[in-house]
Amino acid sequence: MSSATARRSARLGRWLVSGPPVLYLFVFFAVPTLIMVLASFRTPGEFGGLAPLVEDGKLDLNLESYARFFSEAIYAEIFLKSVWYALATTFFCLALAYPLAALIARSPKRYRDLLLLLVILPFWSNFLIRIYAWMIILGPNAALARTVNGILRWFGHEPVPLLFSSFAVLVCLVYVSLPFMVLPLYANLEKHDQALLDAAQDLGANAWQRFWRITFPLSLPGVFAGSALVFIPALGIFAIPDILGGPEDSLIGNVIKQQFLETRDWPFGSVLSIVLTVAALAIAGFAAWVARRNLGTPSSARKVSA
């Protein structure tokens, strides 16, 4: 085979391999996303959807939907509430995931895969089933609600509903997100050098000091990676508030759903989706940036031991 034919066949192979997936994702991911960006600058149609692109010789492109988002306080409020829920979810996931990840990382090697598998398995069960489970647990006739309200009555309080409340939404958000925090945290903790902790102990650091001044700073890349994996999906969630929340628990995802399926105001729905995505990626990007700055493991370890 001459080198020219070889090169040609290599190029052909490259196109045959890369071409189909690139083409598919271009048509069914990139193009729809671009259309949505375009739709955010259009006027809503009379019967939903979009107004004609060109009418009376005028091109229908404007910033009205963006203006609406920034001028009507209710949307900024809902958006901030979503950010708040997502942050709280991230925080509680971190608190629950840290002991799990630490335990797995410290277990004998032969048990680690099993312990990790046990964290991931619930993630593979259907999303709606995991929401439904909390409908049962928090239901008004279930043992938990009766116990809580029994105690409240004892103290002379009015009974509180557990289901259809912000509490239910938050618990379920933490529940479905937890594995995403454990995985990167474990991947990080597993690599820690026990010698650092032993050295600190020899120098008289107690367990608390060893955690705060060695383990935790070194685990920050894992903490940030996990936080991004939890925060992004939590910000855009709509099924959990939809099923478990009360009327005041409507989050940005619910408003997007409403704009597309009920109000049928595509431009405004697109604006909300874009704001959501940009915010999620910006916050995740910021977390990645902080993580990378902290990634200089040896130097930060030196700082700690100094």
């Binding site: 997936p21 598919y24 999303f127 990167p184 999620a280």
Partner: protein, 262 residues
Amino acid sequence: MRSKRGITLWIAAGAGYAFLYVPLIIVIVYSFNNSRLNAEWVGFTLNWYDTLFHDQNMIFAAGNSLAIALTASFVSTVLGTAAGVAMYRYPTKLLSVLVLAPIAIPEILMGVSLLIFFVLLNFTLGLVSVALAHIAFCIGFVAIVVRARLAGMDESLTEAARDCGASPWQTFRYITLPLIMPGVIAGALMAFTLSIDDFVITFFTAGAGTVTLPLQIYSMIKIAVTPEVNAVSSLLMLLTLALIIIASRVSPTILRSQEGLS
């Protein structure tokens, strides 16, 4: 000192595991409970499974889900394998953005953008639009598993095949493909599971008349809690569990593939 800390850690982690499993166990246990209310254990029954198997809507929805998942996992495995090989052999920025972005962005964005896309094209929403959407989000997951498998492969094998005069296609067919096969199978099982479980993207791309299993479960739990949902949930969990066990047997690294995202 050390053992005391060990115990605290075990208790905290044990609480974490309990938090993860108690809800699912309750769903399964109550699927056998002889009571309409999911509140108290009354007695053992298989009635809810009987109701489930005679529920025409549910069976129809399950058939739709199965058809979509089989199609979507087949196509996304072919395209995802190609994408994984391409990401390893011919990495470009465009390729990784196209493959990984659908996984990284909020799911709802993909759902609504595909809704606009299909409606503007006058493409009837239904089984086909759902399958096309599922393929789009499954490709990335398959690609990650396949690329991870390729990264662990001995490059000298393909070089040896080339030196012996094998064409690029022969090298791929007889050397690379058999070696990455566990990754491909694991990716296919993963795509099948993701497709049969998907709710958000299906919700936006299915249109009014089309029902899949998650959509059917959604409309049932929006109305009321019924043990029939427990029964279908338990069966779905069993199916997923079986697939995941097979996948992890075929390719032990699959369980870590989520880490590749971080």
